[in-house]
């Protein structure tokens, strides 16, 4: 297979996804937008999985980003989506820089549990903060795009194209990172931390970088989700939300960036389809799906297009 540059793939990806703005009906465009936004969070988890840890608490940043945007919109009057995204990214970067070095010493179950605990602390705190909605959460109004304030289908389209652009840019940057020297060292760390330390690299630093990237992606994903939904609530940080992100990351595997977004879209479609026709079975479907992936396709969907094994753990 001829090797195209990552930018060629990015351009193709953008074209394919952007075409959705023309062909997709409203409900589908919304579904795709949500799926892509959540896919960003999952991409962050995949980045950390490449280093050998699974985060069960990305809901922390998903929620943090969503609330930052909503609070900025409601209390500071910021409606520009670019600005909201930047604000959320900045907040999540700061928090990520605080927790990253802390979490970078943990592995396995303890990393999973500590990340989960942090997200549940946010959930618990927000649930009790009635001045910002408590468990009911808050609504966020329609975003503006550098001064332009669309409504109806144009708004949907603009939001959709915005998330597509963010996804393509983030996906491209992460792919470049994965293929880079630091990216290969991350993979090596997964396999043999001892050796990587003895070669002279700091494993803690590597894990911290990956965590911070995850925080950024989580926050941006949360912002877009909040804006698309028009609403945010503490459930964004509940452990089951984080669990769904992990599910998508496992389904996708860490070998291919597009597979993360494909997996996210699959999840949203299964959720919608099952809610419509077989209520009370969508978690059953997820659970069976997850088991099948673990047993039959441990490297995730990405292993179908890559020569590596890519076990999730």
């Amino acid at each position: 297979m001829m090797r195209f540059s990552v930018f060629t793939y990015a351009a193709i990806g953008f074209a394919v996804l952007a075409a959705g703005a023309i062909v997709l009906p409203d409900w589908a465009m919304f579904l795709f937008a949500m799926a892509l936004a959540k896919g960003l969070v999952c991409l962050g988890i995949v980045g950390m999985m490449r280093g050998g840890v699974v985060s069960f608490g990305q809901g922390l940043y998903y929620c943090l980003g969503a609330y930052t945007a909503t609070l900025a919109a409601n209390f500071l009057g910021v409606s520009d989506i670019f600005l909201l995204t930047l604000l959320s990214a900045a907040v999540c970067l700061l928090v990520g820089l605080v927790f990253g070095p802390l979490l970078s010493s943990y592995r396995g179950i303890f990393f999973a549990m500590l990340s989960l605990a942090l997200s549940m602390v946010l959930y618990g705190s927000l649930s009790k903060m009635s001045f910002i909605g408590g468990t009911d959460g808050l609504n966020i109004g329609a975003p503006t795009f550098l001064g332009w304030a669309p409504e109806g289908r144009p708004l949907q389209t603009a939001l959709y194209l915005y998330v597509v652009a963010i996804v393509v840019i983030s996906g491209t940057l992460m792919r470049i990172y994965f293929d880079s020297e630091q990216g290969l060292i991350t993979l090596a760390t997964r396999d043999n931390e001892l050796r990587v330390e003895y070669l002279g690299a700091s494993v803690r630093n590597i894990m911290a970088y990956n965590y911070v990237f995850g925080a950024l992606l989580g926050g941006i994903g949360g912002t877009i989700a909040a804006v698309a939904l028009g609403h945010v609530d503490p459930e964004f940080a509940f452990w089951t939300t984080s669990g769904e992100f992990v599910f998508v990351a496992i389904l996708a595997g860490y070998l291919s960036v597009p597979s993360v977004f494909v997996a996210a879209i699959i999840l949203e479609m299964v959720r919608s389809f099952s809610n419509l026709y077989f209520p009370n079975t969508w978690q059953l479907a997820l659970g069976i799906f997850l088991l099948i992936v673990i047993v039959a396709l441990p490297g995730g969907l990405g292993s179908l297009v890559s020569r590596r094994k890519g076990d999730p753990t």
């Binding site: 010493s105 605990a117 942090l118 705190s125 009790k128 001892l194 009370n280 079975t281 659970g287 069976i288």
Partner: protein
């Protein structure tokens, strides 16, 4: 009554409940090395099963001897253990023994998701109420406050469960075998221990304890979908704090969490929901493996 005493009593009641709910989780981790997210589902199924069984008991004329409903509660827990224990352990989990801990968490997470919907399919989404057993033990007056007798019975049950587990592990033959398996399954096997049976037994015990937690709780609440979702993370917090695999640790963890939460409810209500995870995070920062973790070899 003195605020301190109130906090202590409330804390103890909550700690008793927490211990029953969490000890099975830590036991299963200790023996099988699996952090079982489906433990939350087993708890919920225990609650539903006991609601059904107690309901059936009273429908069949149990009014004549209402204390029999307690037997129904315990029977429900036993049924859950006997049916789901082998199904899950022999039917699924045993294929994953020895594999990465986090992978096994993902497997149990899949089981949890499946069981959440299975419960909805069997019991529907409407709430179940079985409050009768809760009222049978009257009320207890302490100072100016009234406590429900049943709540103290839960503390009693927790103590009985704790003693039973501790005595079984440390004073019986089978218990010593289980401890051997906890320390080294491979060596135990070469010494003739039927490790497969120990694993099944331990898992069933864990399932029973989870279901017992649910069964004892059912009379106190309305049994609805999503019970397990909230309980499992609280149980995680307790066992992580106490140290995975340590039964005394689960007791200490339950006490710490119970009293923290009671203190928070009375002193700082805003913190009530997150105090548990905050304590868990703090413990993990200073003692990365919990307070009494079973010894594990760590590399660099």
């Amino acid at each position: 009554m003195d605020l301190v005493a109130t906090i202590l009593v409330d804390g103890l009641i909550y700690a008793g409940w927490l211990f029953i709910v969490s000890v099975g989780l830590t036991l299963v981790f200790g023996v099988l090395n699996i952090l079982n997210i489906a433990h939350g589902s087993l708890y919920a199924i225990g609650a539903y099963a006991s609601a059904s069984l107690v309901g059936a008991y009273f429908a069949a004329g149990g009014e004549a001897f209402p204390y029999g409903s307690y037997a129904a509660l315990i029977l429900a827990a036993i049924l859950v253990a006997v049916v789901l224990g082998p199904l899950l352990e022999r039917g699924l989990l045993r294929y994953f023994y020895g594999r990465d801990e986090v992978l096994n968490v993902l497997v149990t997470y899949a089981v949890f998701l499946i069981l959440e919907d299975v419960m909805k399919l069997i019991w529907g989404v409407n709430p179940y109420f079985v409050y009768e057993p809760y009222t049978l033990l009257g009320t207890v007056e302490m100072g100016s406050l009234f406590y429900v007798g049943y709540d103290f019975a839960v503390i009693g049950a927790a103590i009985i469960v704790g003693l039973a587990v501790w005595l079984t592990l440390n004073r019986t033959q089978i218990g010593k075998v289980v401890l051997a398996v906890i320390h080294d399954a491979e060596i135990s096997q070469t010494m003739g221990v039927n490790v497969k049976r120990i694993y099944l037994g331990a898992f069933m015990a864990g399932a029973f304890l989870a279901a017992l937690g649910g069964a004892l709780t059912a009379p106190m609440i309305s049994v609805t979908p999503g019970l397990g979702v909230n309980v499992i993370i609280v149980a995680f917090a307790v066992v992580i704090i106490g140290g995975l695999g340590s039964v005394p640790g689960a007791a200490i963890g339950a006490l710490m969490v119970g009293i923290s939460r009671a203190a928070s409810v009375h002193l700082l209500p805003e913190a009530e929901l997150f105090i548990i995870y905050f304590v868990m995070a703090i413990v993990l920062v200073f003692r990365p493996e919990g307070l009494f973790a079973k010894t594990q070899a760590r590399k660099i």
